[in-house]
Amino acid sequence: MKIFFLLTVALSAMLMTPTNLSAHGIRLFCWFEAGTLHGEGYFAGGDPAKNSKVSVIDRAEKNVLAETRTSESGTFSLSLDQAIPVEVILDAGQGHRASWTWDGTTEKEKKPEHRDAEPENTLPAIAAGLTVIALLFGFLFLWKRDHAA
């Protein structure tokens, strides 16, 4: 058991360096402003999704209304009729994709809900994940033992 403890400590120290710790999922954040759709694509750790393909799909007609690419800062802007219900798809390649839907509301512009600039605190989720792994293998051990008996 000592070796497992040492390895766990070594791997944890190597892998859980706070400056490197960051989630990998991609996010898309959009809003309308004066007839223009603005958007920002970023990875959960805060890095921008640069030069990624952005497609605006008409949700009723299912056709592509507009396409563009994100800038170096992960942002994009498109002139678009706010009354049309659309789905905005951000494709960062390698199967990384995020989408944002708009129901075509015209009465009131959606207020931007700016994302947090700071990276997410993933430590509680990591601790929860490691605990679940330990519990699952504990249950598997007991299940195997019962079935072997």
Binding site: I3, H24, G93, Q94, G95, L130, F137, F141, K144
Partner: protein
Amino acid sequence: MHISEGILPLTTLGAGYAISALGVGIGLRKIRDEEMVRTAMVSSAFFVASLIHIPLGPTNIHLVLNGFVGLLAGWSCFIAIGIALLLQALLFQFGGITTLGINTLIMSLPAIICFLFFAPLLSRKKIPVVMAGFLCGFTSVFLSALLLSLSLATTGESFFPAARLVFAANTPLMLIDGLITALALQFIMKVKPEMLGS
């Protein structure tokens, strides 16, 4: 390496689940009591390793370490990787539930191949540990990138442009994964060589 929801066709998603379920079934039959802690440990390492991201061009790459998982968990790697990917999908929205099967397959099948090829070489000492570790880490990511490209090709996307992007983005990762796997194996061979005897 995590394919998001809504990209792949149902047939690919179904095939991914079917083959991964078979792999998990074989793993459950083969795993022995004394291997539980080791398999849980490599599952934990895999779960955490994917959280280290390296910005590269328009996308991010992250450590995979599936070759390392394959060498230590053997046939149980489908269980170890499947559980880690499920938790990553639930806790961090990496990949997704519908793509869990195909993502598990993309990372576990190369791990099994590397286990079958490199474990005998290591046990018979036919190749230096550091070299075996590097080649194992490199090859597993290479094969995962190939499977990822093939999966993306089922969307109707041309294989070669998609593969070119995937391999261009993942070549540094192959080198990094190879290096880390080599260092980890060297450490294990010094302090607890029997850990590699799956």
